[in-house]
Symmetry: C2
Subunit: 190 residues, 2 copies
DNA sequence: ACTTGCATGTAAGTCGTTACATGATTGT
DNA sequence: ACAATCATGTAACGACTTACATGCAAGT
């Protein structure tokens, strides 16, 4: 039955299990808000490509309708899509996470760089972590009120909390690395 | 001068900054031990491809010599390679980590799966985390004795400690998710 | 009037994987 | 003698990205 699709296809399928019909554009936005923290946010063009493939396999239904004056296509998951997603989750091992961590990669070969540059990189990372924490924190807040057992956003809330803890831990590790590199931190200047 | 190369090329270059001349085969082994935790362990064929490209750019020197009866090629980083690596680290922003986390992806759409299956997945993940902790812990141990300031393995030790903490935190998050899903844990049965 | 957002794609190219092929060396 | 490890590649293919192109709708 269900041919093996790239994981990204299942990720898109998963986004469509939360009820609404979505356009490719909207899927991209949702992916930017949620998927990007745990998987990737695929390029827009990739999303349209996957949607076409999913439609060809009958896993999503393309609903072309008029929005104001123009033609817009939104997509809904089909019963076959639900089934394919469930089968995939039941029978395909999840596998171990792949972490592409440019900061750690560069820190690994830190002896080949200026110490000041390495510290700068870690400071930059802290700023980006702050941003990520704020972004994901915003998402987490938006789920409040429907995040208990049996409610629709229980699982998204679970992974958001996981992600928030992860980013917080990254910040701690970064601080620790900075301390180990003799960075005084922003304490004295303030 | 230094064209933009894929990050994997710089990662290989980085592995060659630890002193020895390495064959492609040995680079693959080192990558499996260290790089795989923070970046990826490229396929063997990919390593040979990158090595050829690096050699074409003059960033590594290919040293074909006889090992016993057969021809073996080992690679050493050149001065130009050191320079290219330093330039890359100095001028290219590291960028934010990309996490491809199939467990979190599946947990995100947990409502589309059997609860028992989700718990099973988390248990499986715990086992894999144990293995990763053991593997990386072994690497960490092998660095002892040369992991202080000014010593060659200072930075590898720093990232290994970071990684060990990360895996430990993942285990905690997994346990927490299991608890939230009503998993009693292995306590009562023991 | 003009910019920003919404919405959908095509084309080209790269990175990287899997599968396969080959052969020498070492250990048991 | 046989298996495992060392060592080096080729070929085919797929996922994904970037760059580009297009045009309507809505806000200021």
């Amino acid at each position: 039955m269900s041919q093996d699709l790239p994981v990204t296809a299942y990720a898109i399928l998963g986004l469509l299990t939360f009820g609404d019909e979505l356009t490719g554009y909207e899927i991209k936005q949702r992916a930017d808000m949620t998927l990007r923290f745990y998987w990737v946010s695929p390029a827009t063009s990739q999303i349209y490509t996957e949607l076409r493939r999913l439609a060809d396999h009958g896993l999503v239904r393309a609903d072309a309708h008029a929005d104001g004056g123009r033609e817009v296509t939104s997509y809904a998951i089909t019963d076959a899509g639900q089934e394919a997603l469930r089968t995939w989750m039941a029978e395909t091992p999840a596998g171990f996470p792949v972490l592409k961590h440019p900061v750690l990669l560069r820190l690994l070969v830190g002896h080949a760089s200026e110490p000041a540059r390495t510290r700068q990189m870690l400071h930059d990372y802290l700023v980006e972590l702050d941003q990520a924490l704020a972004d994901l924190g915003g998402v987490r807040e938006s789920l409040r009120g429907a995040d208990s057992e049996g409610e629709p956003f229980r699982f998204p809330a679970l992974v958001a909390d996981w992600g928030l803890d992860y980013f917080a831990a990254e910040a701690v590790h970064t601080q620790r690395a900075l301390a180990s590199l003799g960075d005084p931190g922003p304490s004295a200047t303030a």
